[in-house]
Amino acid sequence: MTPSDTQVEEARSALQTKKVVNDFSIRVATVNGTGSQTSNLVLLRALFQMGIPVTGKNIFPSNIAGLPTWFIIRASRDGYLSHTRDSQVLVALNPETAEEDVHTMPTGSAIIYDEPLTLDRLRDDVVFYAVPFNKLVTPICRDPKLRKYVRNMIYVGVLAHLLAIDRDEIARALNKQLGRKKKALEMNWAAIETGWQYAQQHLPKRDPFILEPMDQNRDKILIDGNTAAALGCIFAGVTVVSWYPITPSSSLGEALIDYMKKYRIDRETGKATFAIIQAEDELAALGMVLGAGWAGARAMTATSGPGISLMAEFSGLGYYAEVPAVIFDVQRVGPSTGLPTRTMQGDLLSTAVLSHGDTKHIMLFPGSAWECYTMALEAFDLAEEFQTPVFVMSDLDLGMNYWISDPLPYPDRPPNRGKVLTEDDLQRLGRFERYRDVDGDGIPYRTIPGTPLPAYFCRGSGHNEQAEYTERPDAYVRNMDRLARKFETARQRVPAPEVIDHPRARVGIIGYGSSHYAILEARDHLRQQANLETAYLRIRAYPFNEQVEAFVRRYAPVYVVDLNRDGQMRDLLKLDLPAELTPRLRSVRHYDGHPIDARHITDDILSQEASL
């Protein structure tokens, strides 16, 4: 026995003794279009139902069928809901990537694989379980076309047995996933049973990974951010939606269609209390939203990077003519077409100043599926309060992956429709100037079409307080200054940051959006590994509230976590903070398209701290 062999042997026996309970992650490597997403969601849901903190990350390709796809399910006893780079359990079903998949696994992992792939020849520091999927599938599925699908359900059974997932929870999860389709249920259950039994009979447990019920998910829900966002829009009372399909925002549009059809048809009249239009492109989508917003509707669109670029001209019109609009940007990897099915926070800087001229936009940054919902509600209020486009900057990770969340709260107040003058108001006031700063907050009053005359002429060209066309320099400057004032007013009205101070902290971390959970976990790492206590501020909106500045004053250095190459939030802070504070900012950047993991943040901060 060579020394390395001894080490391996030791590792192995260690495995067999020390159980690892609810603290590992499962990576399923398959081919897309084979329906494995359903199998994976059944697994995810079963763990959720078992009360275990769990997350699911779908790493899928930008095509419909036939390319490699991975699904990573992380169970975390400690409640960490972020992505991990390492997994400990692998299901290797894709011949194309199987070898590389095996090599990425850490020593001691458990690997379930398709027998003909003979992956066990590759390493001996991991535990292999061979499953003859093809042999197992034939008896339960006569239709050869469906076999590649049924194979995927088999691994659910195998994993359930090996990891001790509650069979009833699997059954419940399957039910939930498939609804009332009886035939489908039967066939799927048969496949799961087959896997289970095969594992029971042929795969004695040799790895330490075990799932045990917990009680962490009481009253929680499992939801993706796009569905949550769509529901937020519905409860915000959206009436006009215009969208153009684009990954990863399409499921937001589609959830809107599904729920609106169900819950927003007037009982009495059978009429739709909404209009959803699939526009011909994103220019038209935002154009329709602006038309509708001008006419008084709560209107929105959802898109992703390329769509945002196409909306540049109309966004500037919305800003300058002061028309409310809600725009969801479910960000993906750019530039250009980039990696359409990978996640990134890459559109911040260009969206903040989207459109030529001195344009500035309000942005919201949901940090959870729950906030995708609540910020949808807030976005409509802000758009109408400030009469301007509001961008909700979600991303693929938030939008398309499944997250444990508190239940969605019913709105506690009626929609804020902003400064809209009614017929009565007009009569009372006797006059109306569309762009006059009556209240000193930069926000003017508006009327909506259908209100008695005189109305105002809405335009993207130069105008004075009375909305009349003018090229006068003084009128132009007055108007632009008022718009700047309005933006300043927004500073204190947008969602405030979430701040976690710490008396012993020197170092601060600023994050936003989908990096939230990874930062929470990294803070624990930093405390545990390096005894580095950190304070944390999660930005929830742009323009930045004064608390952001106060935080940067309190801590130094402040690490700004960005999911992009250029450190775009760091850049926005540089533009916004008093210049003397910006030397405090450092950048932690992650931009390979995968969700950010805590380890990346921890390592980066530690190495920057070391290099001080």
Binding site: L222, V240, G291, A292, A295, A455
Partner: protein, 345 residues
């Protein structure tokens, strides 16, 4: 289509003609667009349209400025270049009670805006859509638009060698439900068509030939360019725009009329006969094609389809405007959210 030309002092809702006027035009004297504004004022006055419900839309161009010059004080949205259809669609869905009137130019519609125009037609959005068609970009000083006639020439000598887009036949091809063409100076016909458009349910496309006195390039303007050079241009100054009188014509259905424009160019208009049946799509296309081959512009109500649903109907919208539905109608009750939350447990 009956034509009313005598205008009483007050219309049926008790308003004088003056109530339908707008701001002072800043377009060139003699510009066809001004004449169209006049007809819009008359049509809305004569039909007694309630101005509170009018919503004017436009893109960018001289033509697109004109909504400031008629139906003053009404609700209006002057958007960006070529994208008026989207804005109008959104607004009209938000409030179905609005009487939508869109004014665009040929550059605004047929060049940059052709994509949105195509989809507007497909959707049959209830909107009067006027193309004030002069074959040039007036506001940017006379470049060709996509409706410029083959062979027309600009002042700098550039010749258009691309075939024009025919707004009417294109609209018919795309399934438009009301397609008409007229001439800015044909008061009687244009007024009648505007009134007809006002009573149409669905999109009404009105392609109105509207000569640009500053940068005309209509059919025969190769000739007109020469003409200008030889007769009328002792100034040699591109910055000078002479003032012209409005052109006005009046001719009978079924006849053809040769119109001489200010710069000496000619325009051949042929008016559909009275017994023409505008419900046959293929016949309409053939009529247009025949006229085109003769170098004529066919005018009149070329095609109409009164059976198709408009976009509001297709979307099954309620009678009340979406924009002002009360919160109870647009925010489902708490039980619904409970049910939804439950579905994610």
């Amino acid at each position: 289509m009956s034509v009313t030309t005598s205008s009483p002092k007050l219309n049926r809702i008790g308003l004088p003609l003056a109530a339908y006027k707008g701001g002072k035009t800043t377009l060139c004297a003699g510009c066809g667009h001004n004449a169209i504004s006049e007809r819009i004022i008359e049509a809305f006055f004569e039909l007694g349209v309630d101005l509170q419900w009018v919503a004017k839309f436009s893109g960018i161009g001289c033509s697109s400025k004109s909504p400031a010059y008629f139906l003053g004080g009404t609700h209006a949205f002057n958007g960006v270049h070529g994208r008026m259809p989207a804005v109008a669609t959104g607004a009209l869905l938000a409030n179905r009670r609005l009487i939508g009137l869109g004014v665009s130019g040929d550059g605004d519609t047929a060049s940059i805006g052709i994509g949105q125009f195509v989809h507007l037609v497909r959707r049959n959005v209830p909107l009067i859509y006027i193309v004030e068609n002069n074959g040039v970009y007036g506001l940017t000083k006379g470049q060709f638009s996509a409706t410029a006639d083959l062979g027309s020439t600009l002042r700098n000598g550039v010749v258009n060698d691309l075939p024009p887009i025919d707004i009417c036949s294109l609209s018919i091809e795309l399934g438009a439900t009301f397609v008409a063409r007229s001439f800015s100076g044909d008061k009687k016909q244009l007024l009648a068509l505007l009134k007809a458009a006002l009573s149409h349910r669905g999109l009404a496309v009105l392609d109105v030939i509207s000569p640009c006195v500053a940068f005309n390039d209509h059919e025969g303007s190769t000739k007109s360019y020469k003409y200008v050079k030889e007769h009328d241009d002792p100034l040699g100054d591109v910055h000078f725009i002479p003032s012209y009188e409005d052109i006005s014509v009046n001719y009978e259905p079924g006849t053809t009329r040769d119109i001489r424009l200010h710069d000496g160019s000619h325009l051949l208009l042929s008016k559909l006969p009275e017994d023409y049946d505008p419900t046959d799509k293929m016949a309409a296309l053939r009529m247009l094609d025949d006229a085109r081959k003769k170098g004529e512009h066919l005018t009149g109500l070329i095609y109409i389809d009164t059976n198709s649903k408009d976009f509001i109907e297709l979307l099954n919208l309620p009678d009340e405007p979406l924009a002002t539905l009360p919160v109870e109608k647009v925010r489902p009750p708490k039980e619904v959210l409970d049910e939804i939350n439950e579905s994610f447990r």
